[in-house]
């Protein structure tokens, strides 16, 4: 059979339509499309894709099952290593991970592993009518409990493995809803909340307990958790502290961190104000600062909130943008106006304290910096102003410091990250950490991988350490 060199495209909502709604953008593969795409995998013996995956999903095996239309066995293979394919199929940066190493990619497009992953996850979701009923083999309860801090991807994946091993797992979440960044950060049009809820309900069914409205560090310290009878603690509290540029006028009304803007919209449903009580400003001319996935999410969200112009201001060029290619393409298609090699230097406000302009400098690229990207250098005298009525700062987040400052003896790195070894061990015995709180802002799948690794370490610790 002749190899199809191009990926089977996935149908999407047209840009003109989707930029006015919060519905998901890509619509998913049909069975025929999925089988055709699965047939592009040549089942090469080396399968480098697997080593490109942070949790080592058996990619050729699940794709083979799709090709043979054995979808239950495809999902079973997936669940061996990844219990959130509906999430990762949508938001993993596959082009930098599994697909980057695909052998087919050497002669044409790599196999669209992410889309196939999503296909089987959606198949399962529909089959179960939104309520997952998967029986996993649990060993006898060990009678020991583990506390997990934060309900984002790291804790979710860690908790599943712990429950499978016979531990009781309790997730403490400060917000009133679970999912962490999957819920407050990533917009509905990229990751429908029904998918996140589905996974959380599934975990609850497996026996994972969720305690909401509980901020570890304030409501109770890690030491208190041990006193309450937990035998080990996993910290998966993520990188939630927003960074600002510390430039003049940044506290003017109408300037948001991306976290605030997205939390208001996604978690608090401010896009349905006044049906929902949380307000948000609906900017007409919005500047979004940054070039990552969060910046794309914020820009595309503000478009859906009714903005007429959304300027994405990024200090380097398109090549250096850390965002997933798909997100950049979607943003461009929807009419986000990219202002590359541009950096804000100050905001100007009106007499009431609302932002009305941003002053920027043009940049040029210089030598490569420590990250391997070319360093942006300001062009002197190139100042210019843009009229705006809203700005969203999406220049990255740092690990949230609440736990580190309330846990004596916990070793912390220079950026506020918790220091943990490759197995997730921290400087305190019985305390483990993984995900963005350790690595700084990374990806959902990396956090899930770290959660799984930590679960294995916790198991070893509780068996040997006791």
């Amino acid at each position: 059979m002749k190899l199809i060199k191009e990926q089977i495209p996935m149908k999407e909502q047209p840009p003109e339509v989707r930029k006015k709604n919060f519905e998901e953008v890509p619509l998913g593969y049909t069975k025929e499309e999925a089988i055709l795409e699965a047939s592009r995998c040549i089942q090469c013996p080396v399968h480098p894709c697997v080593s490109g995956c942070p949790v080592h999903v058996d990619i050729p095996a699940f794709i083979k099952a799709i090709k043979e239309d054995k979808l239950q066995s495809a999902i079973d293979i997936m669940n061996e290593t990844n219990l959130l394919p509906g999430v990762t199929g949508r938001i993993c940066p596959q082009e930098d991970q599994c697909q980057a190493l695909c052998v087919v990619g050497k002669v044409g497009d790599p196999v669209s592993i992410g889309r196939l992953e999503r296909y089987i996850a959606d198949w399962e979701f529909n089959k179960n009518q939104g309520k997952k009923r998967v029986s996993i083999s649990k060993i006898d309860p060990t009678g020991r409990s583990v506390a997990l801090i934060g309900s984002g991807p790291a804790s979710l994946s860690c908790s599943v493995d712990l429950v499978k091993m016979g531990y009781s797992a309790t997730i403490f979440e400060a917000f009133h809803k679970g999912g962490g960044v999957l819920t407050y950060g990533i917009p509905e049009f990229r990751l429908p909340k029904r998918i996140v809820n589905y996974e959380i309900c599934f975990l609850q069914e497996l026996g994972v307990s969720f305690v909401f409205d509980f901020l570890v560090g304030r409501t109770a310290t890690i030491e208190d958790l041990f006193k309450r009878g937990f035998s080990a603690v996993f910290i998966g509290s993520g990188a939630g502290a927003p960074q600002f540029m510390r430039i003049e006028g940044e506290n003017l009304d109408g300037i948001y961190s991306a976290n605030e803007y997205l939390t208001r919209v996604n978690l608090m449903k401010a896009f349905k104000f006044p049906e929902f009580d949380t307000p948000i400003k609906k900017g007409k001319r919005v500047a979004v600062i940054g070039g990552g996935n969060v910046a794309m999410d914020a820009a595309r969200t503000s478009l859906r909130m009714g903005a007429e112009h959304v300027y994405l201001i990024y200090r380097r060029s398109r090549n250096e943008m850390p965002a997933r290619v798909e997100e950049v393409v979607h943003a461009e298609e929807e009419g986000i106006e990219f202002m590359l090699l541009t950096n804000p230097v100050k905001y100007i406000g009106d007499e009431k304290g609302f932002v009305k302009q941003v002053e920027c400098l043009r940049m040029t690229l210089g030598e490569e910096d420590a990250s391997g990207r070319k360093r942006p250098v300001p062009i002197e005298g190139s100042e210019f102003r843009i009229d705006i009525d809203q700005a969203i700062v999406a220049i990255g987040t740092l690990p949230n410091p609440i736990i580190s400052i309330t846990t004596p003896g916990l070793s912390i790195g220079r950026q506020g990250e918790i220091l943990a070894d490759a197995d997730g061990n921290t400087s305190i015995k019985g305390v483990f950490a993984g995900g963005d709180i350790v690595t700084g802002s990374a990806t959902v799948i990396t956090a899930m991988g770290a959660g799984r690794t930590a679960a294995a370490s916790i198991d070893r610790y509780l068996k040997e350490g006791s």
Binding site: H176, P242, P274, T278, P279, N400
Partner: protein, 273 residues
């Protein structure tokens, strides 16, 4: 779920509630606050913890917008969807010497646990508490029990001294004062801080910024202190009153004035129907 165990009306649109919060009450300290949600589509609002007793926390609030209107409608035995806390750093309570606690309006409630703790620590506590008029006076006895001297002011002179708390404070500052604590309307805290700055008396202001998360992840509550941006929920809520940019804070508090009006009007229409 968080049960409303007791509810008292303290004055015009001023409501006190004692809420069951088993995880919060035993660990709450003076100066800390909670964030609560009144119903499923509700917003998150911060309220300072005014007292605690076993499993109960006390909050005192004034009905000003939609959320407080809905909250005030709840009765004893009703439940709140969500209460998270205690949030923020506790007030720094040490033996300072002679201290003044300046509370205004609804801010008088959170003054109480701070004054009590200061008194217990051996300070001479002078409390200056200001109300709009006699009808609005609440917790006077509690404040008296937590202070050595109390000066009550009302704007219209219908009870206690006529004038603002700052008028009373000005006189008091003729004595030797080691520290001032202030909680209340932002303008009041600004004026208190101005007065004490002239005499170089360290002043702690408990700020009431807008908030969403309460855990340092959103930055809604950012405030300029000594030229640096701080988060009220994480770095505060207490800050050096001489360093706070109150004018910026006042502007930020007004960000959603229009939305707050729409929200309240929509609610009033719904209630009428």
């Amino acid at each position: 779920m968080f049960k409303i165990v007791r509810k008292n009306i303290l004055g015009p649109e001023i409501v006190q509630m004692e809420i069951e919060a088993k995880n919060i009450a035993p660990v709450a300290k003076p100066g800390q606050f909670v964030i609560l949600i009144v119903h499923e589509k509700g917003e998150r609002i911060p309220l300072t913890i005014a007292d605690r007793d076993n499993d109960l926390i006390t909050i005192v609030f004034q009905v000003v917008g939609k959320t407080t209107t809905l909250l005030a409608k709840l009765a004893e035995g009703d439940f709140l969807c969500n209460v998270v806390g205690p949030l923020g750093n506790p007030t720094d309570i040490e033996t300072f010497g002679r201290v003044i606690c300046v509370g205004g309006g609804i801010g008088i409630a959170p003054v109480y646990p701070i004054a009590r703790a200061l008194k217990k620590k051996g300070n001479e506590v002078i409390s200056i508490i200001g109300y709009r008029s006699k009808d609005y006076v609440f917790w006077e006895e509690k404040i008296r029990s937590a202070s050595h001297r109390v000066i009550v002011t009302t704007n219209d002179g219908s009870y206690g001294f006529k004038g603002f708390v700052t008028d009373a404070l000005k006189e008091m500052l003729n004595e030797h004062i080691d520290r001032v604590f202030t909680i209340g309307p932002t303008i009041m805290m600004r004026e208190v801080s101005k007065l004490t700055k002239e005499r170089n008396i360290k002043t702690v202001a408990s700020l009431n910024s807008l908030m969403v998360c309460g855990m340092g992840m959103c930055g809604t509550c950012r405030v300029r202190v000594g030229g640096e941006t701080k988060f009220t929920c994480f770095d505060g809520p207490d800050f050096d009153g001489h360093l706070v940019d109150f004018d910026e804070l006042i502007k930020r508090l007004d960000t959603y004035k229009e939305e707050e009006r729409i929200s309240l009007e929509t609610l009033r229409k719904e209630i009428q129907i």
